[in-house]
Symmetry: C2
Subunit: 252 residues, 2 copies
Amino acid sequence: MEHTAGSSVVGAASAHAFQQPPSLVDMAAEALRRMIIGGDLMPGDRVVENQLTKEFGISRPPLREALRVLEREGLVRQLPRKGTIVTPLTLHDVYEIFTLRWEYELLALRLALPVGPSPRLDRVHAAVAAMQAAADAGDEPEYGRHSFEFHLSLVALSGHHRLEEAYRSLQLQMQLCMAMNRRARVDEDLQQDVGRHRRLLELVEAGDRAAVEHELARHGDRTFLEGIEQRLAGHTEVALAWLAQVRGTVEG
Amino acid sequence: MEHTAGSSVVGAASAHAFQQPPSLVDMAAEALRRMIIGGDLMPGDRVVENQLTKEFGISRPPLREALRVLEREGLVRQLPRKGTIVTPLTLHDVYEIFTLRWEYELLALRLALPVGPSPRLDRVHAAVAAMQAAADAGDEPEYGRHSFEFHLSLVALSGHHRLEEAYRSLQLQMQLCMAMNRRARVDEDLQQDVGRHRRLLELVEAGDRAAVEHELARHGDRTFLEGIEQRLAGHTEVALAWLAQVRGTVEG
DNA sequence: ACGCGGGCTATTGTCTACAGCAGTCAGTAG
DNA sequence: CTACTGACTGCTGTAGACAATAGCCCGCGT
């Protein structure tokens, strides 16, 4: 396989040794996800197939299958006979994504609590530990990844695979949102944030539903949502109302 | 639905004239969905690509893309290097599907209420009318389709596209469940069922959340769930507990 | 008789090539 | 100078062929 120029993304992955080499589709899908949530491709950008085949060193059929997957995940949108674009986001989309996320987490924890000793809990603890390590190292991207894993493993406590999968898709879309504002966010205190997560986990282990819900409510997003309505179109009534309400509860 | 030999399914569709001809991928995906929820393919059955290309009269690339879509919808499961099978269902899967459905509907109506006059309400009314017509005609399959459309349009009242899409996927999986027991169900009184739906809609229009929730709770599924644990593996604790609880509330 | 290895077949994974539509830009007429 | 029409370019949609792997059956050896 000698695509010297372009084999970067996929080629690198296959070089890293997989016991069961994943299909080119999976690798292309993963590479695309990283490009999108990493900000290399911005919402609204065209995704040209031939261009990516050269970049990945693969042919079009597997790439097209990967695009179909990404579409069902909500990261791209395919316009018949016109091509593929990275999903453009409106304020209403942000409203949808964050309301659903909230409901998913709430539902998952309602189903999970009370939670006995379980390997699922180990996964959450591992995520917290990784967050702590990343915070100590000051590695913010790494911290973000483990933070997502924390919340995902929290949802997984429910033992509800479909819910977990839905939440995973939603996380991708959240990362798409966040790719739009690659600014600030350094003012966040990672150590403090780790503390919030750790406290949340303790409440989960204690089985205190009300406290968990309360902690979740004040758990975040406000720094991200700072002035977001200036940067996005699609100001639905419900979206604006939601935004105001979120900011209101933040103050309280 | 008999796929006589050649280009039956897809060919027929393309012959019927589409203003904007959908891609073969879309048509193949739709044909596959019908085959699966129609019971032509049962959970666990292998889905052989070449076989279907001959049946549909298309080539493998679009079919493979369609399979990727169906996998993200949860109707099939792709095992790397081994092929594709129709998603096998356990009792735990049924538990997941029905709990999520309940939560989706509840969330959607919570977001939608109170609902002012809107074209979205027209859609619900149209669904009820279609149900009534099908009930009068005694056309049970048609009735079932419009019943699904009723619930989907109810969810759509929320104006939450992602929620609507998630609910649509879930409906497909519910139909997959129902494809497993193609028995009885005739004892249902369609007229009475129409009445239940109509009453639910009235409560929605009245904006009475508590009453809506109460009506939803006693809205169904028990005939379907009759003795389902005998026919399925995967008896998780939570699934059994859920089943018992559902049957408990039914009695009440 | 039973376990094991080698070849075979069926099926999936991938690539190259061709057909057809969409948007664009130049050229021309008014 | 503007509006319309035509070909052109690039892209997507689809087909068919090639490569590689997994399961299976048969024959062989113990």
